[in-house]
Symmetry: C2
Subunit: 227 residues, 2 copies
DNA sequence: CCAATGCTTCGACGAGCATCGAAGCATTCT
DNA sequence: AGAATGCTTCGATGCTCGTCGAAGCATTGG
């Protein structure tokens, strides 16, 4: 027996198609009930219950009771980061599930990665912030500059509240569709929240896709220029 | 059926303990023969052969025939990056395989992550390069500065050769033991090569651990100071 | 208090798969 | 050529685990 973290254990949890579907669904960031997850995975309620129990005891999912419902969510953003990285690898080695429906282009353009923006738009967001020197990378992790802090405040983000959370403020996350990094962390989540609050986007029901309104996209591109 | 990359497929490949052990062994960077991998995984030769066939057809391993031997290696550094990120997650949720033998502290201090340095020392290396402004991050990915290029040349690294490879020069990789990034990519690999060439370290046989010699550690700390 | 809803537990079935013995194929060594 | 080494293929075995029907438990609503 070897030493070190047991990756087989958690890989096996993700390795079942039903569980993988559930986890993917939860990358939308919202907590979902057992019934919703069963439908998402395409299995019966009993089967889903068994899977969810395993995911929970494996530390991948946390559960919250609300009345007669039980809502499940990923235990942390790092789970989402790992799942995205697995998607990137799966895409590279050619394991893409066929049927590229109408949703697929939308997902590549803009989607939710747990709680922040991913896809072309997410990558563009990070590029813009770096190019305008609102973000910089000191020790391999991102940090807001002085200008970045001012920008955040002006954009309507409550920085002190974010800093009170134990979560890293800025983090990169490798995008599976673009294979370039986008902005994650508390700041990434806050930016998506704010963009939604401003009405620039609407969430597709039961999907990770994020649809920009025509006006919203204009505002977004003006607010986050590439040059 | 959903669309998108099929993470269940590759997760299932990693999900078997025997295969996970093989993959972990291959993170040492060296190509290993089927027999060596069988021993590493603790299974018979026939079983190993079956596993290796699956890993190969799944796109995780590449094989190279040499005489009557078949040497397997990871198909790319991104596989190692994914495995390290899974280790980080497994460590966080508490799935560490017990028996923290004498190897364990050594692994945390310095180990090989496919082809570059990880552990405390690897993290320190990245920190030092950033603090001395030999590296900087422009669009979320790392890049050498002018000073960094001069440093590389002075340290005995053939930059033009590295740039000829299609591989990204500098990349970060999240460290499972420290949970902070270290330097990966072609540059990370070249630095480890050079450090080995200089005789500062010796590789533990059949292990990912990297042991610094006393003199080597002094040289290393002088070459990569933290302030 | 009874009915309805949401979910879990129990039990049984079945398929998939990891495992290894034995035989077969390829390569190298003498 | 014959023997030895390294690995794969075949076949059989056994076990794990995903699956769902039926029953049970908890919560909410009338």
């Amino acid at each position: 027996m070897k030493t070190g973290p047991d990756i087989a254990l958690i890989a096996a949890l993700v390795g079942d198609p039903a569980r993988a579907n559930m986890l993917t669904a939860l990358m939308g960031g919202k907590a979902l009930s057992a019934g919703e997850l069963a439908a998402e995975a395409g299995v019966s309620l009993q089967t889903a219950s068994s899977h969810l129990a395993k995911l929970e005891s494996g530390g991948l999912l946390a559960v919250e009771k609300q009345g007669r419902h039980r809502y499940f969510r990923l235990t942390g953003p790092d789970i989402a980061v790992m799942l995205e990285s697995m998607m990137g690898l799966a895409a590279r080695v050619g394991h893409v599930r066929t049927r590229p429906g109408p949703k697929d282009p939308a997902l590549r353009q803009a989607r939710v990665c747990y709680d922040h923006l991913a896809g072309d738009t997410g990558v563009r967001l990070l590029d813009s912030l770096l190019r305008r020197r609102l973000l910089r990378s000191t020790t391999g992790t991102l940090a807001l500059t002085k200008g970045g802090e001012e920008f955040a405040a002006a954009f309507g983000i409550d920085l002190p509240a974010l800093e009170r959370s134990r979560r890293p403020l800025c983090r990169t996350c490798l995008d599976w569709s673009v294979r370039r990094p986008h902005l994650a962390g508390a700041m990434g989540a806050a930016l998506l929240d704010r963009v939604a609050e401003l009405g620039w986007v609407r969430r597709e029901r039961n999907s990770r896709a994020v649809l920009f309104t025509a006006a919203g996209l204009r505002h977004f591109e003006r607010q986050f220029p590439l040059k």
